[in-house]
Structures are given as C-alpha cells and as structure tokens.
Symmetry: C2
Subunit: 336 residues, 2 copies
C-alpha cells in the first residue's frame, strides 16, 4: 500500500451524521521533517464528543474544519522517526488523522506498553474513556461506600468503567442502558447491582423503585429526559457529573426540560461538567491505576471492532444508534 | 401589653401568598421552664426561602405545619431567663416565632453585640443573608481579581452583599435588578460596575453587550429566564452559585427552560446549590468578617422596615413583588 487514504469532513451534519458528510480520498504517504515521526494507524477510535466538533462552533475544543482530514484517537506504529524520543516499531497513542498514516512532531502522542494490556485498551479502558470515568467519578463524584450511584450510557466505553470503579468503592450501582443485551452484560459480567432499559420504562417511576434510598451520585453521559428524571431523586449533597449529553448532540437547538436549579436547591447539590483534558496533569496517575485494575482482573472491558478505515463514518454513526457495547473501534491495519 | 400576638399559617399558598393564608391570634404570654428564656421580639425578618417551607413538602428544612405559629429570623430581648447563658436585657438573634414573645431553650439563639453595628444588621448584612452571600460567593464562587461576576436579585439582602464582596475581591460586578431606583442604588451607592433592569431588556442581548469578556461567576438568587440567558455566556471553568430561585417559588410545577448541561459541558462549568446552614461550622468566621467590613465602611446596607407584627404577611408578600431594596424587616417593638 503506497497511498495514504484519509477521511475528510466535507459538510457539517444537520441532525444525525450521514455518509454524505464524509469523503475518503487518497494521497501520497507524507514525508517527515526533522523532529517528526511517521505513524501507521492500527486502530482508530470513534467517540461521541466528535459530533460536537463537527458543528463548527468553538467550544472547549476547536471545531473540525471543512475539507480537512478528521482527527481522533489512534493507536499506531512508528514507521519512520526523525525524533529522538521515538523509534520505528514503537506503538503509540495520540490524537491523529482518520487515515492510514499520520505525521506527528511528538507532542500529544505517548508510547503504549503492549505487555500491560492489549494495545486496543489504549483507546478504551486504559485510554481516554477510562481516564474520563476515573477522574469524573473519583474527583467530582467522590463516591462513598454504601452510596447509590446512577450511570447513564452505562454500557458505553465510559459508563462501563464508571460502574466498575463505583463497585470497587463499595457503592450500589444502577446502570441505565438501551437494550436487554446491554443490561445482561452490565449485571452478569460487570456486576452492576441494577440496570434499567430507558426505552422500556417510565424513568421516574422505575428509578423511584430501584433507588429506594435516593441517588447520591449521578454520572451523566446522556442527558435529556433520563437526566430530568434523576433530578427528582437526588439526595442531600448529591454530586452530578456531566460528562456527555449524547441524546442532545444531534439536536440543532438546546432542548427544553424542567429547570434543574430548584431540585438542586432542595438538596444542596453539586453539578460539575468536565472534559478529560481538565485533568491532563494527572493522566499518568490514571493510566497507572486503570492498567493495574485491568491486570488484576478488577476492570473488565469489551470492544466492538469494525474492519476497515472506509467504515469509520459508519462506526461513528453507530454510536448515536446505541450499537456498541463498550468501546467502539475501527481496525485499520491487521496486526502482524 | 399582656397578651402574646402570634401569626399562624392556616392554609398553604397556591401561587402568590395572600392574607388568607395567615391568621393573627392572641394568647397568653408563655411561662418558661428551667433552662428556658422568654424573648420579646423587636424585629422580625421575612425571607424568600420561607415560601418553600409553606409548600408542605419536605426539602432541606421541614415544612411549616398548618395552624402552627410561623417562625423566622428574630432579633429580640431576653425578658426572663432560667438559663445560665442568658440574662434579662441581652439582645439575641435566632429563628423564633412570628409573635410578640417566644420561648427558647437557648439552642439556636446567639447574643448580638449592639456596639458593632445596629441590632437590625443581625438579621441582614451581619446575619443570615450576609453569611449566605459570604459563603456562597467565596467558598463556591472563588472570585478572582479581574473576573466578571453577575448577580441576580442584586438589590436584595443577599445580592447587595454579594456585589460588594466581589468588588472587594477586585471583580467587575454586573447586577441584575427590577427597577431604575434599584439600579441607581447599586451603581451609585454600592459601586456595582454595571446594572441591568431585567424587566426592560432582552437579557441575552444585553448581557452580551455588558459582559464582553463573558461571565466567570454567576450568583443566582432568581432563576428562570434570567438564568437561562446567563448560561449562553459562561466562560471556561465558570462557577454558578444557586442560592435562590425567587422567580419560581410561587409556581406549583417545575418550570421548563433550555437544559443547562450542554452549556456547562461546553465550558467545564460548576453549578452548586447551597443553603447557609451547610456552613454552620463557620458562621463565626462570617460574622467576624462581615462585622469588620461594616465597621470599616466597606460594606454598606439598606433596610426596609414595615411597622407592626400584624403587617408581617404583607411584608413577606412584598418580597415577591420586588418591593424591597436591601433587607426587609418588620419592627414589632419600638426600641426604647
């Protein structure tokens, strides 16, 4: 393969993203300059937050530019190096191109140790989603033994880690997900105490039943009516971690719901939104702890792998249709 | 005066409170037992939070019971004491009856030093509203020099203190209030940088103009559409202090507005609700600092005083009609 296939964003999604928003092009494999490395993509990550960057509005990250190559989490191999910190054969992870090859000056890529866990985990349980769960739950949620914690998007890459860490901390964990298969996985394989299928239940009634002692911590990946229902049941000094709002990302306008402030005032509650980058100075702590838990078998994970760079847009769209259990990846190069 | 007039809650307000919810009765001046004191009310405080307790629903405080005497902030004089900690003639403050006389066992009342500031301030700037402003702003808001802080309900007992403390911390202070008289007071007497009359302006457009650098801290006493507008302009790591929601207290159902989570996620924002009681172990620190600022002339205040216990319900209702600038009090006994 002498060409570099790349995926461009050619127009901005209105509502649900579709194939028409993306274009696959072929170009030359880039040359590298002093200080740079050439990376061959092995796995790509698709993540819900990318939908926000496609809107073209400046938020916490810069928007994707039209007609440029999309970027996201990549695990790849150093093919060529003019940077003293990296050698050919090194496996690295970083935010790189949706492409067969990327160039990096070494900033924002990190070496992955394949002996700790499979390299795919550098995009999942020991990568950005794992860190997101770790810092959001422990730093904002501060779960205490015996507390009730509710996780929305419980079967996703972040939610699965949140629930398991909460169990490690001695909490009663209630997971909200959208299928029986997801419920079974969470309860039988990950040890969640209770799960709820939000598509089949009246959320407020069901939460009342399943959370008889109220809700102390709510880790919110979803937003919308699920979160509206949770507000009715929060306990005194509850902590609400706003991590994602996947139910709203494809909406052009802010959606309306019952205002949260009065519920919060009734319980002196905390709501804190964050992105994982807020904890950049503590990433190594997170990698160490998550890697240790994985090695000890305390943190389980599942990956959903789509084959082929050309199928990346479809894998991305699948995130918004609830297709994945655990981490959604794209395999770009078959490992040798 | 040998009788004790008392005000009862005889039915629960639907929407705006009215005279029909209250009843003035006369009874005997109570006898006291060992360990108790008899207090003659000098001033009563009326506060927006009381509306919540009239709903009959358990929140952070127990609801007022029907056909019982209402309670609230009182400054009074010890008339008779069978408690070693208090002597006749002492001026005290505490949560006591809407009545000419109250009995206390000494728990929850504190002596007021009339040489620091007029005794009325024990219900205002050096009392519960002052503490509310002090802890909410400093502990949750953590204002930094040069930041922009917006205060809703800016001309009220809490808002006036919030704005002045924020000025002492070197912030640019934007006050939202409901009349030109209030605006003039805030800008000319209290040194607010900018004020906005929410009744006359499109809040979002006006806030955009008046907060060109965005909003770092929002101290919310009001809620509703004013708060909806603020969300559009919050900066990265903004802090939102939910102290009151006076625009919603007379609504039977939670009101709908644009969901806040997406705005918060775009700026890694914090929203924290609180009541002053959350800081009970630090009250003395607050009294000391607020008293010092008042004595130094750094903290100004205004009081709005209605005469006569029988007019307490009317003074209370006035809170929801925006009648008061600063602290709303009722004088029950003319000071000798």
């Amino acid at each position: 393969m002498n060409t570099n296939r790349q995926i461009l964003l050619i127009n901005r999604p209105k509502g649900m993203p579709s194939q028409e928003n993306f274009k696959l092009i072929s170009s030359q494999i880039p040359e590298i300059n002093d200080g740079e490395v050439l990376i061959q993509t092995i796995y790509l990550s698709v993540d819900p937050y990318m939908r926000g960057r496609m809107r073209g509005i400046k938020t916490y990250t810069n928007p994707y530019e039209l007609n440029e190559v999309l970027t996201g989490g990549v695990v790849g191999e150093i093919i060529e190096s003019k940077n003293d910190w990296f050698s050919p054969g090194d496996i690295i992870e970083g935010r790189l191109d949706w492409a067969d090859y990327s160039v990096s000056d070494g900033n924002g890529i990190r070496k992955v140790n394949p002996t700790i866990a499979p390299i795919t985990t550098a995009l999942g349980v020991v990568g950005m989603p794992g860190l997101t769960a770790y810092f959001g739950l422990l730093d904002i949620g501060k779960p205490k033994e015996g507390e009730t914690i509710v996780v929305s998007g419980a079967a996703g890459a972040v939610g699965t880690v949140v629930g398991q860490i909460a169990k490690l901390k001695g909490c009663r964990v209630v997971g909200i997900a959208g299928s029986q298969e997801k419920r079974d996985y969470l309860e039988k394989e990950l040890g969640f105490d209770v799960t709820i299928n939000y598509k089949e239940e009246n959320m407020l009634q069901t939460l009342r039943k399943k959370c008889p002692d109220g809700i102390d911590v709510y880790f919110d990946n979803v937003g919308g009516e699920v979160s509206d229902a949770v507000m009715h049941l929060i306990n005194f000094q509850a902590r609400i971690i706003v991590c994602g709002q996947i139910s709203e990302y494809n909406k052009e306008q802010p959606q309306y719901g019952p205002r949260v402030q009065r519920f919060m005032l009734n319980s002196s509650a905390l709501m804190k939104a964050f992105i994982v980058g807020d904890y950049a100075d503590r990433f190594q702590e997170g990698y160490n702890q998550l890697g240790k838990w994985v090695q000890e078998g305390k943190l389980k994970y599942r990956e959903n792998i789509v084959e082929g760079l050309e199928n990346t847009p479809r894998a991305f769209m699948g995130l918004f249709m609830g297709e994945n259990i655990g981490k959604q990846l794209v395999r770009v190069l078959t490992e040798s």
